[in-house]
């Protein structure tokens, strides 16, 4: 979706504000919102691409006005309600109307193992690659209303396949409940001048990770 989250190349966002000796979390509620998101994700009711898409669907004005973990909280509430794990009424009142029957609940004793294992997006499927390193490609000019990992600034631009990372889940399908759609993922090199015009530095480049379905031969 052409959301405000897709902000590569935008102007006017202000200076980059850094903080010396920044803590991992700034408030207790940030700790809890982070951990709740991780633990709720473990229930298996949605995947990471759906979680990203839930945050992207925050209305633009609110997205820009929200801090990072506020966005996580909003995304989590959306997913819980959409999956029927909690009702909007329960979210408002904070009072449960009966217990849910979750498939799996993250236990403290499993946290270390679960985090070390991670959630690999790499797939064992043998899918032939459509491109190989050195191939000239053009990123598709598409404007899907759903989730996509093809940023607007790269659409319609010409690049060169730098490396083939192997077969991965295709997030654009996975986020929408359309399965994993296994396909090759590539690091694609775009010259800065191809993306931004003659004012860009001549030798500089932006590398974007893109999948077979994002690319056409150029």
């Amino acid at each position: 979706m052409n959301g405000v989250h897709d902000m590569g190349g935008m102007h006017g966002m202000g200076p980059i504000e850094r903080e010396e000796h920044e803590p991992v979390f700034h408030h207790e509620w940030e700790r809890r919102a982070f951990a709740l998101t991780m633990a709720a994700g473990f229930l298996g009711e949605w995947n990471i691409d759906m979680a990203r898409h839930a945050r992207e669907r925050i209305p633009p004005a609110r997205y820009l006005a929200s801090s990072y973990y506020e966005k996580w909280l909003l995304g989590l509430e959306t997913l819980l309600a959409e999956r029927g794990l909690v009702t909007r009424d329960e979210l408002v009142t904070g009072r449960p109307r009966g217990r849910s029957s979750p498939g799996r609940v993250l236990k403290a004793s499993d946290v270390g193992r679960v985090l070390l294992k991670g959630g690999p997006a790499r797939l064992p499927e043998r899918v032939p690659p459509r491109f190989k390193p050195g191939d000239r490609v053009v990123a598709k000019n598409v404007n899907p209303v759903g989730h996509t990992r093809l940023p607007r600034y790269a659409r319609g631009k010409r690049g060169v396949v730098d490396r083939d990372y192997g077969v991965f889940i295709f997030p654009d399908a996975h986020a929408m409940g359309l399965g994993k759609k296994p396909q090759h993922l590539y690091g694609v090199r775009f010259a800065a001048r191809e993306l931004w015009g003659p004012d860009a530095s001549p030798g500089d480049a932006v590398y974007v990770d893109l999948w077979d379905d994002h690319l056409d031969p150029a």
Partner: protein, 211 residues
């Protein structure tokens, strides 16, 4: 510098107080419904506050600086090489190391969200997740680097890596001159988080500084 030092969450009526209440309510709701275990939340928080952070990545970089065979393995298969040091898992399932040279400077961003290599760098700082960095890193990397105090010549190629997939990028910065003979442990102390994102160079220790 932003003012994040004071916890305004306790001020009644402030938006943060509302958010604080909202998170508390959500946690108690999910616990009562049997969906989350509060002890697991504590364990998750403890992992990212005390166990995982940029010191992990600094050890990877220092090892690559002193051990050419490890460096070669890191550049060929970063996931496996980093796992040799015990760092793996969530948000670092597939790693790529980006080698800085006198002619190439690498910079990592996630324009679409906040993708970041957790096992080696921990959770990202606020600026990395902010609209100013996400919007400008791809368009004006040299301007961004200047704001961070890094001035690059025209003969240096800037490569910006937009983390749009589950590949996670770790910059392998250049080893500064004047560090010959330093131990791996001492070298790791020089390596900053920002140098592994690509917004800083690693600077040699001040004369008479730590060895």
């Amino acid at each position: 510098m932003s003012d994040h030092h004071h916890d305004h969450a306790s001020e009644p009526g402030s938006p943060l107080a509302e958010t604080d209440l909202r998170v508390r309510a959500l946690e108690s709701l999910l616990v009562e419904k049997g969906l989350v275990d509060p002890a697991a939340l504590d364990a998750v928080i403890d992992t990212y506050e005390t166990k995982v952070g940029p010191r992990n990545g600094a050890r990877v970089v220092a090892r690559a600086w002193v051990d050419p065979a490890f460096r070669a393995r890191l550049l060929a298969d970063a996931t496996a090489a980093i796992a040799e040091l015990g760092y793996m898992g969530r948000q670092g399932e597939d790693m790529v190391a980006l080698e800085d040279t006198p002619k190439v400077h690498n910079l990592v961003v996630c324009t679409l969200c906040s993708c970041y290599p957790w096992p080696v760098l921990g959770l990202p700082p606020v600026w990395y997740k902010s609209a100013p960095y996400r919007s400008r890193a791809v368009l004006d990397p040299r301007g961004v680097l200047r704001e961070f105090g890094v001035e690059l010549g025209d003969d240096v190629e800037v490569r910006v890596w937009d983390s749009t997939s589950e590949m996670r990028y770790l910059v392998l910065p250049e080893r500064p001159a004047g560090t010959e003979g330093m131990s791996e442990e001492a070298l790791a102390q020089l390596v900053t988080r920002d140098s592994m994102i690509g917004v800083a160079k690693v600077t040699p220790p001040a004369r008479g500084g730590p060895r």
